[in-house]
Symmetry: C2
Subunit: 465 residues, 2 copies
């Protein structure tokens, strides 16, 4: 067996941020990778994206070139404050009509300190452009839309068939094909509701606005610092995405249905947004006035109602939005996909070392690796899907409109803090250790004789302190 | 000024667990205390009560005799396991009809390790009996129902008038007068909805059942170990309260209103409970069969809809349920009152030391102490009220009845774990430090000139790690 043959060959489906970061991690570890992207070019939707310190640490572990790409993509601190290098997230009252010191006043509700360079933001398209350059030549294959996967227990290889009639083989498939994942449909079957994302009953409107215009609308303090404005049935977030642009997103509740077959973006007008926020504070209305007259309305879908029961099957696994598509209200969807990518990069290193020492067969090692990935990642990532729904409900409590309910509505922020810290304080070093431990436990000969683990499937957590 | 005069004289309103624990803490610190209880005798309602390790640590700091009272009251580990000294909390499927190995099978959902002696349970009445013995003679005054409080800015003393026409004075009033607190009404006014607890739309049925009978109903494993059975619109918890008795509580959703003027307990029959749980697992139905044929139905009220805006006013403050009456679903209501009592015991030590050194006036020191108490305790305790509602919603998800929603419903337990750990992992030493720091900051001369603190009232939390 040559070194080449001993190394697993992985097919990555999907060239979004998570697929590319994973490819950067695997190629760096000497794993043979082919990445198949259905589009003609790489193209990122949405406006800005932010990463907390713990996610940047994951990127460093995956491949330091990913961090270089983030920074060369123009990443800036979410708070552009000459006096203070720390990042803060701020929640303020977007609706209340209290007038403490004039029409620009909005009551502060929560301020979270994320540390120095603790929340870096970047334009998605710029980050993606620089990320593509990290991937070695020959890895990426564009215009390849997955049709079917053949993963037969007794076959050495997995086969992928594309809609253009071509067919390739791989030792395993890692699907980063997003919220509308074809791979998820293939693993679960079309009769499983988890094969399709569900409407969250929220629509989003996103804009990139020149900073000099925003200054006049909301004042210098808010322009240079991220702010989340909360209120009844809607919220608005804005933050600098580079040194001269503000990214702003409005999310509005929608009681109506959004049919599965309708495109998830629709044309809309600024008037729709302005009407929904007509009774809000002056700075909010000023900022909405700077949105383009015509813009896209994004229907937000996720996997909350029908989560994926298991992220792996045989030599195929689901990663990022394909596994746990979340609404965007924690701003952590891509971050959790990057945590997934670190888990899988770690596992592919383990598999490669095992194969080099002839400890196991490729197929068996890869199946155990994906079983481990599911075990390590599923609970936390499904929590995010639930939590993102939950914090949106808290941001958009209808009772913000009722002054008699102020004490109650404002009491939600201890929970918002806890949920944010659970995301930010993620210990990626501990996850790497856990991943290696679980994988090695899974590959021990005794593990295979033992059909059921000792906790009988129940989640067990140690609460001693 | 004599030593006697330098020591603050505190009136405690209410002789429940929290009032008595606080009295034990203050008398130990040499503070003069009078405790006024409206009842003819001490009497505790409810069945069992449990305390995690961190609450026992609070008791130790308040007065070690409280821990002695707990243990002499017959406290036992929530898991009576000869092989394992640790306490565990377990959540299992009370409804699902899966039959893995017979009719007694119930799917385990979450197991939390609370450490050695990590959750001690006791009969409320037995604990109270032994707690009363800790209080020095002359402190307790029974059959004293509070009518009004006079706290005039320019008066040296606060005056309390009781419904029997008697009148006493004190330097300050600490109200532990429970969910229907008269003191809360006096502080907020009857027009404030927070003066009255609100119906949570849950009713509870409690029973104490001899252990030998329970053994036959649910088997040995579950009898000796706490279990929370979850299912659609109801849940059931049982645990040993001493070596021969099981305490069991059923909580059922009730869509109807419960008028404010109706007594919060009503007569009910076992049949009501059995009908609500008719489709549940065999062990659940077996256990309900052991409830008394006639029993009380407890309407559960709390302060969720209208929380108390501030826990202090002048020289009066609200503690425990008077400040933050919670539904009982975390089993932490009394624990949070005991945390309050530690905060106030710490503050009264500080006040006593300041007065001994003539640093300030009694009235000013006590006002600052109560201001500090509100600052240190309000956020966490209002979080508990919200969280208890939230976990009950998770335990009682109607979707437990829908097999297609199983993955979603079961995904709630990461949140249940986080919320439990936030309660159990409370660092009482850090709270004591924070209390002293905040009090001393508040008594510095500069603090009084500064009308507003630097964060402009916004909660700020440091998320750096």
């Amino acid at each position: 067996m040559t070194v080449q043959e001993a190394t697993p060959e992985i097919a990555i489906i999907g060239g979004g941020i998570v697929g590319l970061v994973l490819a950067a991690g695997l190629t760096r570890r000497g794993v043979r990778v082919n990445l198949y992207e259905q589009a003609r070019n790489f193209r990122e939707i949405g406006a800005g994206i932010g990463f907390t310190r713990n996610t940047v640490r994951c990127m460093e572990k995956i491949n330091p070139a990913v961090v270089t790409a983030l920074r060369s993509g123009g990443a800036v601190n979410v708070s552009l404050d000459q006096q203070d290098p720390k990042s803060y997230l701020r929640w303020i009252d977007g609706y209340g009509q209290q007038r403490e010191d004039g029409p620009m006043y909005q009551k502060p509700l929560l301020k979270l300190d994320a540390g120095v360079k603790g929340w870096e933001t970047v334009r998605r398209d710029q980050f993606l452009d620089d990320l593509v350059k990290v991937i070695p030549d020959g890895v990426v294959h564009l215009q390849k839309r997955l049709d079917t996967i053949e993963d037969n227990e007794d076959a050495d290889k997995v086969f992928l068939n594309f809609t253009d009639g071509t067919r390739v083989e791989a030792d395993a498939v890692i699907a980063c094909d997003g919220i509308k994942s074809r791979t998820r449909q293939l693993l679960l079957g079309l009769e499983n509701p988890a094969s399709f994302p569900q409407y969250t009953h929220k629509v989003a409107y996103r804009a990139l606005i020149p900073m000099d215009k925003v200054l006049g609308a909301i004042g210098e303090y808010k322009t240079f610092r991220q702010h989340m404005h909360v209120g009844p049935n809607a919220h608005l977030i804005h933050y600098p995405v580079n040194t001269n642009t503000i990214g702003a997103t409005v999310v509005i509740s929608d009681p109506n249905e959004w049919p599965q077959d309708k495109p998830t973006t629709a044309r809309a007008s600024r008037k729709d947004v302005a009407e929904a926020l007509a009774n809000w504070c002056t700075p909010v209305r000023n900022l909405v006035d700077l949105f383009p007259e015509e813009l896209d309305q994004w229907a937000l879908f996720d996997l909350f109602e029908y989560p994926v029961p298991k992220y792996n099957k045989g030599r195929v696994c689901l990663v990022g939005d394909a596994a746990h598509a979340s609404s965007p209200h924690h701003g952590a969807g891509a971050s959790f996909g990057i945590e997934d990518a670190l888990c899988l990069s770690t596992l592919m290193s383990e598999v490669t070392m095992d194969l080099r020492e002839h400890r196991t067969s490729k197929a068996s090692a890869l199946r155990t690796a994906f079983e481990t990935y599911d075990k390590v990642r599923r609970t936390r990532t499904q929590w995010l899907v639930n939590s993102s729904r939950r914090v949106c409900d808290l941001f958009q409590q209808p009772e913000w409109a009722d002054p008699a309910k102020r004490v109650k509505t404002e009491s939600c922020f201890e929970e918002v803090k806890d949920r944010s810290f659970k995301i930010w304080h993620f210990d990626s070093t501990a996850m790497v250790d856990e991943t290696i431990h679980e994988y090695r436990t899974g590959t021990r000969p005794s593990a295979k004789m033992n059909g059921i683990n000792s906790t009988n499937g129940v989640k067990e957590a140690n609460g001693t302190k």
